[in-house]
Symmetry: C2
Subunit: 225 residues, 2 copies
Amino acid sequence: VVGLSGIKKSYLMGDQEVHALAGVDLAIGEAEFVAIMGPSGSGKSTLLNILGCLDRPTAGSYMLGGKDVAVLPDDELSLVRSERIGFIFQSFNLIPSLNVLENIEVPLFYAGWPARKSRERSLELAGRVGLGQRGHHRPTELSGGQQQRVAIARALANDPAIILADEPTGNLDSRTGTEIMGMLKELHREGRTIIMVTHEDDIAAHAKRVVMVRDGRIQEDRRQG
Amino acid sequence: VVGLSGIKKSYLMGDQEVHALAGVDLAIGEAEFVAIMGPSGSGKSTLLNILGCLDRPTAGSYMLGGKDVAVLPDDELSLVRSERIGFIFQSFNLIPSLNVLENIEVPLFYAGWPARKSRERSLELAGRVGLGQRGHHRPTELSGGQQQRVAIARALANDPAIILADEPTGNLDSRTGTEIMGMLKELHREGRTIIMVTHEDDIAAHAKRVVMVRDGRIQEDRRQG
Ligand SMILES: Nc1ncnc2c1ncn2[C@@H]1O[C@H](COP(=O)(O)OP(=O)(O)OP(=O)(O)O)[C@@H](O)[C@H]1O
Ligand SMILES: Nc1ncnc2c1ncn2[C@@H]1O[C@H](COP(=O)(O)OP(=O)(O)OP(=O)(O)O)[C@@H](O)[C@H]1O
Ligand SMILES: [Mg+2]
Ligand SMILES: [Mg+2]
């Protein structure tokens, strides 16, 4: 369902080039559960952003559900993204002026859901991530882990086929982290594709496959569990 | 060196009160190394913000180096803070318009350091956290873990007597995290007081004392190692 071939991503910094991704080939099938690991700065978030159609590669091709993503115009890419992909960002990216429920509803708004169904869905998801009592709080009134959980609920709102998670439990105590992993595994059993970046071995242990990234390349790719 | 007595922190949300801290007594001596742990939303960051003089309690007293912090006017509190405390925030709080070196130099600027000594110090610290080649990058051009390391370097710039760290390794792979913990232990051996919030047991294992927080109170306080 996801096919990266010869993917490169470079940034020009003055007269220096930073090769965030230096040639990545990666094929992920439907309903797989993949963990991406690697040192800080190795290219994990960049890889996830390209998989999530949030960023375009400098070179290489990306086949998503059989279509070459590179040739899609921006608005069509945006549509594919909002319908098929749920993204949990490393730094949450919540909208400060919206409360918890409104933040969760953002993807539903773009997908054209009516207000009442939207509110029903965000209330359900807020409850599932343990924030049922915090619906009207804004991000600055929440703890780090609570903000992360809002980001998780938002990623699941549209019931996406592919979930991309960048350090989804980084700000969570082990018990809350285990609850979140339980949710992701349940979504996986329902047939979704889960691709998560993590630097914690116990979190990666929940996945069926571990891809190791180093210096912008895939160093290792093994099945487990 | 740090004495909290009957500390409460409440937020008024509409007609509801959120008791972030519900009565905390905590005494930490000079050159101690304390880990604060507890569930998401239990009050750890709030506690650290009060210890760091970034927030005032709703009730209770805070003695810092023998002085009652509550009676200090804002500018004097600011001075105490900039001279004695280095703070690593849970969400980094870097200045987007400044590059890595400039971000590290912020506390030195406030302490009145001349530009040349300041630049010498920030170059040294950038190197120590493994960002020697990234000095002129801005935060948006860095990975999550790289941003966290800039925040760490900034907290150490002023050579503070007290270091407060909120999830200092949350975005770091285990090897980089171990390097950072090595730095904190070295600073501890030099006689500094280290108080860090973490949800990871292997990180807490480096400390000499673990304080467990739950629902805005201290649930447990034990020596270890
Ligand atoms: N500005 C605010 N207004 C209202 N409530 C707040 C505010 N800041 C924090 N809170 C609440 O106070 C409680 C404690 O928050 P705190 O950030 O200290 O938790 P924490 O232990 O650091 O959690 P985490 O592990 O998720 O970072 C939480 O329930 C949070 O929602
Ligand atoms: N906008 C940008 N401009 C320049 N360089 C960038 C930019 N974004 C990322 N980089 C660089 O690309 C490399 C890979 O970054 P990326 O965020 O993918 O790393 P990561 O593996 O997610 O790291 P971490 O574990 O610290 O989050 C890093 O060296 C980073 O400095
Ligand atoms: Mg990253
Ligand atoms: Mg916190």
